[in-house]
């Protein structure tokens, strides 16, 4: 065996590697028991799903592509996207506000976060919906001076506007903490190096700090988006015709409560799966430059051969 560089792993060819010794893996009896128990439970659940006639699967699927359900689905998706967009923008602004040197700015940001995290979302939604009771007329003008434009709160704050304000502003408070954690995760040396090269504050933020903070920001933001998708069902209480509201309207006529709730659940599950896939690719994009192996998806781990001598996942340069 010739080895030019004995200190370095992975440089010799396959022929150089000696036969692996016979290794008997540790017997993990606890894992076997757990696996059996889980398999039994799975079988029982599947049997019940198939044999209990009250699931009424035919009705579940007959409504799956129902026009009213699909209308609700579109509203749910639009609400999720718009509310998250408002949330991300507010989150970045509030995170920067918290970090501001100006105590008035950082105080205002802290107040915003404290208020929107400190009161229930449902209360906030109903509050926005009833804003006209508090401020019947909304106007734009010079403070303490003349009014430039005004309108009735009832016509300006439609239920949809109330829903977007309620969901988006609330989300902004949570997003700002996520963004702040991301910004703080970036080594201060990065900012210094960028400043030393003559980059301005905005350029340093956009080109150097934010892209590196994204690695920390994306996973919890994916979580928030998935949570938001389902939280939009809350706005059914202010009569927004989203997914849950639409099926409630149907089953209040037909009394097929359980099958229709299963229909919406399937739609929520499907959308969540789509979002998770998107998150996977986004995370992979922002990992570039990182040499640590990415986590493998569940199926790949399930099918992986158990090899006690396996090399740790190969270093792949993304």
């Amino acid at each position: 065996m010739k080895r030019s560089d004995p200190g370095v792993l992975g440089t010799h060819t396959a022929a150089d590697v000696p036969e692996p010794p016979k290794v008997v893996p540790v017997r993990r009896y606890g894992q076997w028991v757990t696996t059996v128990v889980l398999l039994v439970i799975t079988v029982l659940v599947i049997r019940s799903l198939l044999t209990n006639p009250r699931f009424q699967w035919d009705i579940v699927f007959s409504y799956f592509l129902n026009g009213q359900v699909l209308d609700g689905l579109v509203t749910t998706i639009v609400l999720t996207v718009v509310a998250m967009a408002v949330g991300v923008v507010m989150g970045v602004l509030m995170a920067l506000g918290r970090e501001s040197r100006n105590p008035v700015v950082s105080g205002a940001a802290a107040l915003y976060i404290g208020f929107f995290r400190g009161t229930p979302l449902l209360v906030q939604l109903i509050f926005w919906f009833n804003l006209a009771a508090l401020y019947p007329v909304l106007s734009v003008g010079i403070p303490f001076g003349p009014t430039l434009a005004s309108g009735s709160a009832n016509t300006l704050i439609t239920p949809m506007v109330a829903a977007i304000l309620g969901l988006g502003l609330n989300e902004g408070a949570y997003m700002s903490e996520i963004v702040r954690a991301g910004l703080q995760s970036v080594d201060p040396g990065q900012t210094q190096a960028a400043h030393a090269l003559g980059m301005r504050k905005g350029q340093v933020f956009r080109r150097i700090v934010l892209p590196q903070a994204m690695r920390v920001i994306i996973p919890p933001t994916g979580n928030e988006t998935i949570a938001m998708l389902k939280t939009t069902s809350l706005v059914s209480v202010i009569a927004i015709p989203e997914l849950l509201f639409q099926v409630q309207a149907i089953y209040s006529r037909t009394y097929q409560v359980i099958p229709l709730l299963i229909t919406v659940s399937l739609w929520y599950l499907l959308l969540t799966a789509v979002l998770s896939t998107g998150q996977f690719y986004l995370e992979r994009h922002f990992r570039r430059g990182d040499l640590r192996p990415a986590e493998k998806p569940f199926l790949a781990r399930l099918l992986a051969r158990r090899d006690p001598l396996a090399q740790p996942a190969e270093r792949k340069q993304v």
Partner: protein
């Protein structure tokens, strides 16, 4: 105002710097002419890195003045008042001063080539193709032409530091600051970084180097300045300061490190 001969590249007068209530730089006067290589030596905590970071305004000084190529750093003088410069103006002045850090501070989300062209394109509005061509020449010069498309984390410390030097040089600075460029490196990688710096000095670059490499200072420096406890203890040619130190503090420091 009278027209004088070319001003020194760096001129510091009575520079003081506090960290909180702690005075770490206690009145430094120092001058570096164009093309000069100055090595700043001294025990850790003597204020040499802090002083270096004041030169490109990464740290604000509390008293005194620093001029780079005759211009105040971070301020504009109007009558007898100093006016703070705007961030954009400070950035413009900084862009003419290259800096190399102990921890390299390469941008990990960009390839080596992207690291080199980022500031020229963003700050100087150069054409990407131009900046890229110059970057490849610089990478060749520091011996890393084949690493242009690698990400910084896949490189050794010595390679990363050489990329960091090339990145600073791609802004075509008139002054280079080195803040302990070899202190974070494995011993066998120090040489390759010092070789690049030696080459740069021979090329006529004005350099201020905070270092613990006495041999490098002896060989390359025009001036060696020894600092302790926030002040300049003595300054002169390597032969004077390293070969025949007059001050007892210099003598005891050199006795420990040599």
């Amino acid at each position: 105002m009278t027209a004088t001969a070319t001003p020194p590249m760096v001129e510091a007068i009575g520079v003081h710097k506090y960290y909180g209530s702690n005075l770490v730089v206690k009145g430094i006067d120092l001058s570096v002419t164009q093309g000069e290589v100055m090595c700043l030596l001294g025990p850790s905590g003597s204020g040499k890195s802090t002083f270096l970071r004041c030169i490109n305004h990464l740290e604000k000084i509390n008293a005194g003045t620093i001029r780079v190529a005759g211009e105040l750093v971070g301020y504009r003088q109007h009558n007898d008042r100093l006016h703070e410069l705007r961030d954009a103006e400070i950035a413009t002045r900084r862009s003419e001063i290259g800096m190399v850090f102990q921890q390299f501070n390469l941008f990990p989300h960009m390839t080596v080539l992207q690291n080199l062209i980022e500031a020229p394109v963003l700050v100087r509005r150069e054409k990407a193709a131009e900046a890229r061509a110059r970057a490849r020449t610089l990478l060749e010069r520091v011996g890393l032409a084949d690493k242009a498309d690698a990400y910084p984390r896949s490189l050794s410390g010595g390679q990363q530091q050489r990329v960091a030097i090339a990145r600073a040089l791609n802004m075509r600075p008139k002054l280079m600051l080195f803040d302990e460029p070899t202190s974070a490196l494995d011993p066998e990688l120090v040489g390759e970084v010092l070789d690049v710096m030696r080459d740069l000095a021979a090329d006529g670059m004005t350099m201020i180097v905070v270092t613990h490499e006495i041999a490098f200072a002896r060989e390359v420096a025009d001036t060696v300045t020894f600092m302790d406890d926030g002040v300049v203890v003595e300054s002169g040619t390597p032969a004077e300061v390293l070969g025949n130190p007059r001050h007892p503090r210099t003598q005891s420091f050199l006795a420990k490190v040599l």
